[in-house]
């Protein structure tokens, strides 16, 4: 009972209450919404994210401990992780390093900012730019005009890609057609997809609250 049923009862109580309170414009209802949804949920959510980081540390440490294949790279990962955490909490004041727990001084430190600017930003941009090459090979497969639907896809994508082309005369028409494609058929398609996603999310949330969807609790 206390291992499985009680958590599902809690999901129903909190879920049903939070769904109903939206339709009650009373200050006590708003207070409870702000207290639980805006104050409690972010705190619990931060611990859930910390759980992911802890899991990353655990997996990497196990890899190093058991000398599994490519364990050396886990050393690099942990070194990067702990270095930036160190500089996020320790600030050099004069000759000494001070531990700043309650203030966010660490965010302004030279090393913390440089680790972000010269490792995270170029890494992120390069990984995403790498996708340009893989998208090019995907385009080759997707953009073959085998039927009407593939031809529509190909035409829309080509017009979008040529909209900044400097070819005299053609560039202007491509730009106008691309703008129309983005604001008319693309808007209609996106609108349908967003409505579909919204209905899907409402249905899933209702399944969770009513206890029909239980996969997130795990087994046991």
């Amino acid at each position: 009972m206390h291992k499985r049923q009680l958590p599902f009862i809690l999901v129903f109580i909190f879920g049903a209450f939070m769904a109903v309170q939206y339709f009650m414009p009373h200050e006590s209802s708003e207070f409870i919404y702000e207290f639980f949804a805006l104050d409690w949920v972010p705190i619990i959510g931060i611990f859930a994210l910390a759980l992911g980081i802890w899991s990353l540390i655990k997996v990497s440490w196990d890899k190093i401990k058991h000398r599994r294949q490519d364990w050396q790279y886990s050393v690099v990962l942990l070194a990067g992780l702990f270095t930036i955490i160190f500089f996020g909490f320790f600030v050099k004041v004069g000759e000494h390093w001070e531990f700043r727990f309650m203030t966010s001084d660490g965010l302004q430190s030279y090393m913390f900012r440089h680790l972000f600017d010269y490792i995270v930003i170029p890494g992120q941009a390069t990984v995403f730019s790498l996708l340009a090459f893989y998208i090019a090979s995907a385009s080759y497969r997707a953009f073959r005009a085998r039927n009407l639907l593939a031809t529509l896809l190909l035409s829309a994508a080509l017009i979008m890609m040529l909209r900044f082309s400097p070819i005299p005369g053609l560039g202007e028409y491509m730009s106008k057609t691309a703008t129309w494609l983005l604001n008319v058929p693309n808007l209609a398609a996106k609108r349908a997809i967003i409505i579909g996603i919204g209905l899907g999310m409402v249905a899933t949330a209702m399944k969770v609250v009513l206890g029909i969807e239980r996969g997130y609790m795990g087994k046991g």
Binding site: F14, A19, A125, R191, G196, M206
Partner: protein, 267 residues
């Protein structure tokens, strides 16, 4: 550019080239850059989550109390409850006590799902429907100029396109007859939308690639190595550092070629 900035820029350039080396194949330089990037990014989010999330939402609210009394003498001691619930999440790592983590999970999922029902309905479904249900501009149906967005026919395409695309996703009725025709028009609209999004994404990625090449050429080569006399402060120490980075790359390429030759010989 001072020497420390030069070193940081060179390291960023090294990481950029190391990640691009994946285009040849998976290799130690790429793995090094990938793991360093993952580690530093994860650590960055730990620090940000602590300073911008946990500290203002929990610790600063309890900081008027005393940890010796478990903050029960704070003016807002009830904030200890979400803190304890958060800590209980870590019981997931114990096989015996893993069930305890279901309680904070239940409260979190319950609140999030409950709030999502009216909010998703309002923000995604109703707002998009309201935006679609605007009067058609019959007075300016053909519009002015080439492919006018504000014209009546564009508005008709938006309305009919959205409804038809929704009909295409409705699988409870067979797509035959009139429904089949509407669904077919819906998939045409969807294909135009997907094509436009695909083309947009390709251009986005290519502009990112151009940005990385610009970084390597302008920020690194031109500024740091005084190519074309841009940086008169560049001295031999810069060239020495560049030589070290270049030697690592050349050494790796030579090592790969030697390995291929050895494999060919043994075969």
């Amino acid at each position: 550019m001072d020497f420390s900035t030069f070193l940081w820029t060179s390291f960023a350039a090294f990481l950029t080239l190391a990640i691009f080396s994946f285009l040849y194949k998976d290799n130690p330089l790429y793995k090094f850059a990938e793991h360093l990037f993952v580690g530093v990014s994860a650590g960055y989010f730990v620090v940000i989550l602590f300073h911008n999330g946990l500290s203002p939402n929990l610790l600063q609210r309890l900081s008027d109390g005393d940890w010796y009394y478990l903050w029960l003498n704070s003016l807002r001691p009830w904030y200890i409850i979400p803190g304890i619930l958060g800590i209980l999440m870590f019981s997931r790592f114990s096989k015996k006590w893993a069930w305890v983590s279901r309680y904070p999970m239940a409260i979190y999922i319950g609140i999030a799902a409950g709030v999502a029902i009216p909010l998703e309905m309002t923000n995604r479904v109703l707002r998009q429907m309201v935006a679609s249900m605007t009067p058609i501009n019959w007075g300016n149906f053909l519009g002015s100029g080439y492919l006018d967005i504000a014209s009546g026919y564009s508005e008709v395409i938006i309305l009919t396109g959205a409804v038809s695309a929704l009909v295409y996703f409705f699988f409870s009725t067979p797509h035959r007859g009139a429904i089949g025709g509407i669904a077919k028009y819906g998939i045409w609209i969807l294909m135009l939308g997907f094509g436009a999004t695909f083309g947009f994404t390709v251009m986005n990625r290519i502009s990112l690639f151009a940005n990385r090449i610009q970084f390597l050429w302008v920020n690194w080569m031109k500024n740091a190595f005084n190519v074309k006399g841009v940086n008169p402060q560049a001295d031999t120490s810069y060239m020495l550092a560049f030589t070290v980075v270049a030697l690592i790359f050349v050494g790796y390429v030579v090592w790969e070629i030697m390995k291929k030759f050895r494999k060919a010989e043994t075969a």
